[in-house]
Symmetry: C2
Subunit: 654 residues, 2 copies
């Protein structure tokens, strides 16, 4: 039996696991591109294994929130989502009306709302199959550091040292290498059905990311992997007139339908099949594609519905459950989404087939209904939160205690998600109120939908105070949220345009925050044409760059912008900035060629094409104040704090 050791072992190659791996690859590639005078930064050694024979090919999750697309941008794959995905522009509500169909009663369009409110994000919502995003993440991983998913690898046992700090590799996992299927037994018809991994039928649940099961597979080899960290990302057992919009259809008696447009002209239908009494189970014979279509037809009456082609279908039971804890001694982490849970008790089930000895943590973090399109997004944002923290600890630029914030930050998000989901699911499944009967009020539905708009874009998340987020109340650190009223501490750094001085282009400031594992100080000094501003900036830069300065203190490799990058936005016309002899720390000689950076200085100025960028206004920063501001942004684009630039040493202390 072979033995090996890795920094991080990732179990499960669904969106959460692949996202984590892709982020680590990006961080590795960043450091590999650098030439350092000191000791080189060690490559983070990770493996990603999955017991399925191949990745998911069709079906499953498909909704991408604005915030997820923003993060894809920081990894350099958003353009592929925009190219292949469907944008949803409007949501159309259909509701029962007794006057319709000549008095027989039927559906009527009652309201339309915009799906992504203008100003929410540079991006909008997109629909695209999970298989494609898994492909993009795999491609990224392979391009950045050559890593591939190891398929047909099943963990069979797991051990962890009692004192995790007594040894370098406290985690031991046994991996079984499975033989590939000799013949592919699945017919084309089978591949359309997602029931084998729905939450309805326990005995058929097999693989974490689709593909065929493992029970019938021979073991060809076994190996023992020792790891510093283990991350479980095994979620898994876990035509109308406006059909290219998002449609919310409530029928009077038959239940509800949600439709979303999909790539290649396809449409996804979420059809409510019925309601279960406590303890009641789904009748297997009901779950056929014919029955689902029949049910959908009865809901949309008097409209007719015919299905020309069915690419994929599944069935799930709605339930909201949440794991108590996301980590074990800050060494073993779970992440990701489970839409389905056949157990009725919370926190059990899903991962047991993969980690039989790890039952107490063997659920994925959160389980809820897929209808609100939250699952895949939240999963990937889980590992986005975790990835840079693991990398920082392994690089020695953060204390291991930072890892505890994964649990505090993401558990709170999962909790809010479950609450939200419970409400939305209730509204979808509930019978609409009529004049005669009580029920779900349509006004209530619309109101919640609108209120939840920001939530469903993924941009509403606000992390609480911790070692990596300050609070407006932390007077000792000199936090000054009043200096940038458009920036919310604990929330992501929102996008506003600016002009890049080096290229004369109108750029998106958020797009400059690449997910390469670096922290960033966003400096807003004001108008440098004023002598007072220029003088102040010189003094700020001395505190950053001087002997024992903030930047030098945390950069031990002689590669000055490798741990913290400074991006500066002036309230000054570009041409006036261009030839100024700015302090070198603002335009550092970048590795590997020592060429001065040309992409770190920005202007709040007029674009050749799109008018004024209004960057300072966008971030709520007064350009004419006699004080500048410095915003500290984490490697995952969340704002850690806002300081007066004259107080920059307090940022350093923090």
């Amino acid at each position: 039996m072979t033995n090996s050791a890795v920094d991080i072992l990732i179990v499960g190659a669904g969106p959460a696991g692949l996202f984590l791996a892709a982020q680590l690859a990006k961080i590795n590639a960043f450091h590999a591109s650098r030439v350092r005078t000191g000791e080189p930064v060690k490559r983070i050694n990770y493996r990603i294994v999955d017991k399925a024979e191949h990745k998911v090919l069709v079906g499953h999750a498909d909704g991408f929130q604005c915030r997820t697309v923003e993060v894809f941008q920081s990894l350099g794959i958003a353009h592929r989502v925009l190219h292949e995905g469907c944008e949803v522009a409007e949501v159309v509500f259909y509701n029962p009306d007794p006057e319709e169909d000549g008095g027989k009663g039927g559906l009527k369009e009652t309201q339309r709302v915009i799906d992504t409110e203008p100003g929410t994000s540079f991006f909008r919502h997109y629909l695209l199959g999970q298989a494609r995003i898994e492909q993009f993440l795999s491609d990224l991983m392979q391009d950045e550091d050559g890593t591939k998913v190891e398929q047909l690898m099943e963990p069979t046992s797991f051990e962890m040292a009692n004192d995790v700090n007594s040894t370098e590799y406290p985690i031991t996992v046994k991996l079984r290498h499975l033989a590939p299927s000799i013949s592919n037994g699945s017919t084309k018809e089978d591949s359309k059905s997602g029931l084998y991994r729905s939450n309805l039928f326990a005995t058929e649940a097999t693989s974490s990311t689709g593909g065929s099961g493992t029970d019938d597979k021979a073991t060809v080899d076994e190996e023992v992997v020792k790891a510093k960290y283990l991350v479980g990302c095994d979620g898994a057992r876990s035509w109308l007139p406006t059909i290219r919009l998002k449609n919310v259809i409530h029928s009077a008696e038959s239940g509800s339908i949600l439709t979303v447009p999909r790539e290649r002209g396809y449409v996804r239908f979420y059809v409510q099949l019925g309601r279960l009494e406590p303890g009641q189970r789904v009748n297997r014979s009901e779950v056929t594609i014919e029955k689902i279509i029949e049910k959908a037809q009865s809901i949309v009456k008097p409209y007719r519905l015919e299905c020309a082609d069915v690419e994929w279908y599944t069935c799930y039971e709605i339930g909201q459950r949440l794991c108590d804890t996301f980590d074990k001694q800050e060494r073993v982490f779970i992440a990701g989404y489970v839409a389905h849970d056949i157990e009725t008790a919370p926190n059990t089930g899903i991962l047991t087939s993969i980690f039989p000895h790890f039952r107490e943590y063997s659920d994925a973090c959160h389980t809820h209904s897929p209808k609100a399109g939250q699952g895949m997004n939240t999963s990937m944002m889980d590992t986005y939160n975790l990835g840079w923290k693991l990398a920082s600890v392994l690089h020695g630029t953060a204390q291991p205690s930072v890892l505890s914030t994964y649990q505090t930050e993401r558990h709170a998000v999962a909790n809010d998600l479950i609450e939200f989901d419970r409400k939305i699911a209730g509204l979808f499944s509930g019978k609409p109120a009529t004049r005669e009967e009580a029920g779900v009020s349509l006004d209530e539905f619309h109101a919640l939908w609108k209120k939840m708009g920001k939530w469903t874009t993924g941009t509403a998340i606000e992390y609480s105070q911790s070692s990596v987020v300050t609070s407006a109340k932390q007077q000792d650190f000199g936090i000054r949220p009043d200096l940038a009223t458009g920036i919310l501490i604990g929330s992501h750094f929102e996008n506003h345009p600016a002009i890049c001085c080096g290229t004369a282009q109108d750029i998106q400031l958020q797009h400059q925050l690449i997910s390469d594992g670096r922290w960033r100080i966003m400096l807003f000094p004001g108008d440098i044409r004023k002598t007072s501003v220029a003088d102040r900036l010189q003094s700020v830069c001395k505190k950053l760059d001087g002997e024992g300065g903030i930047i030098r203190r945390y950069t031990r490799t002689g590669d000055i912008d490798s741990v913290i990058q400074i991006l500066t936005v002036f309230a000054t016309p570009r041409l006036d900035i261009e030839k100024l002899p700015l302090p070198e720390i603002l335009k550092p000689k970048s590795s590997p060629y020592g060429v001065p950076a040309w992409d770190t200085i920005f202007a709040d100025d007029k674009s050749h094409y799109t008018g004024n960028s209004n960057t300072y206004i966008g971030y709520g920063i007064k350009a004419d104040r006699d004080i500048g501001c410095a915003v500290l942004v984490r490697p995952d684009q969340y704002v850690a704090g806002v300081w007066a630039d004259t107080d920059i040493e307090k940022l350093g202390e923090y």
Copy 2:
């Protein structure tokens, strides 16, 4: 010796050859996606061969015109160019000034101009290495119909039947299969030099697309390929303060430099090394990277120039030459760009090593200096022009005589290009005028540069009257250019936004014209809320769709939108159009599932995000006229003609 037959044999896998192959793949994929009641459309059987061992890896061409990016959009690869490429925002002119450097004389920034005038195109100019675009085209080809470039294949002989119509496959080419190199003899240093394929040193010129030569390679096999058509796309033997902008630097005595920004922080320098007297040849010992840098340093004085890394360099002799004819009996075509030509006589040289028996056509079409960034773009636009014509003839939807328009249309473009290049090259190489000496006037330079702006975007091309372009004067066909004053017959269909009725999104109308080989009728009926407009539209659609109607006449496969697609833009708010019972020909039941098209009806309306689309104003069409208009657009997006919709039968006759 194996024997085989193909519809089209493409020799050379540079940008022109790959572009042609990718376009054919796209057309094949379009027809393969369709289910037809009649006879299926035959797959176009093509091969693309190249004698090099691998494709170009670094260097060569790098500028992409707006118009080329528009065409990439129609193939679905523009997003990759935008993601990886550099946008050029401004051109900066540096000129000698005796006052500079404390009276010693030196360079001074004298002017700045925007590189792409607003309104020219939805896209701007991009810089990206030729290797990447060849990768994108290869990927597209493989994704669309699975074809791959066949490397290490060298044509050794060529024969063509005297009467090309006497036999199905009149062309016979012998291909030599070469053995791969046993060891790669090139060092890293060698790979930086492009001299082996420059136009300076005949004996070293080897491969059409870079890579190692063939002379030392063993023949492992030979085959005979018979073809209906042959296309030769073997072009080939054929830090300053504003360094991320485009810089035009004229020194007083030392010559000129042009710089353009490139991806990954690189910059391309075009350095004038000297001038040759008639009959004089370049001194080989001058062409070293050290000498080139030294020369550049002397030009930019008093600025200092240091090169941290050199990825690639080459040297070429400026000359403008043009082939007399681009085709032979409309069966053999040449396409593509040759920057270099060591022979002094026109129409010789370049392809001779590839087609020794085909000397009279053995030059690529045009040869000129690379500085204006015209070569790769013009090459690909050559094969864009040719590809759909070949496909139409092979599909039987056009007469073979349409192929003669390749020569007439593209030869005129090449002629204009050469004229333009001659002027630009003279200005670059000429010494600037000073108070004391005559020379190139800077005003003259700037004036030509600005005037040529539209030319260098690729959007200025206007094809003359032919079987596939009408003329405003053709009264017999009822041409009515006055109905759409923003549309130029013979030019490409320009972009304006509109709102898609099916998706409620603001879309770019030009992006709907996918390069899948289809003709398009763009209908602008006016405001359909008016009864007169609705009635007129009914009558127009009857002429299109009725028994013997225009569409049915040319669509023999029972797949109504497979030859001509109709796109309709109403001057009506979207919500008023959405539920109208439009004539079926405007929203045909699309193959393969018979689902009504949701992407053929557009509104000139307000967007959720970007204001009014002003589509009718953009195209110069009066919405309140009592007559609509119909624009016929070719498969390569060029406008064939404009008709009154009431005269639609004249479009049919045409």
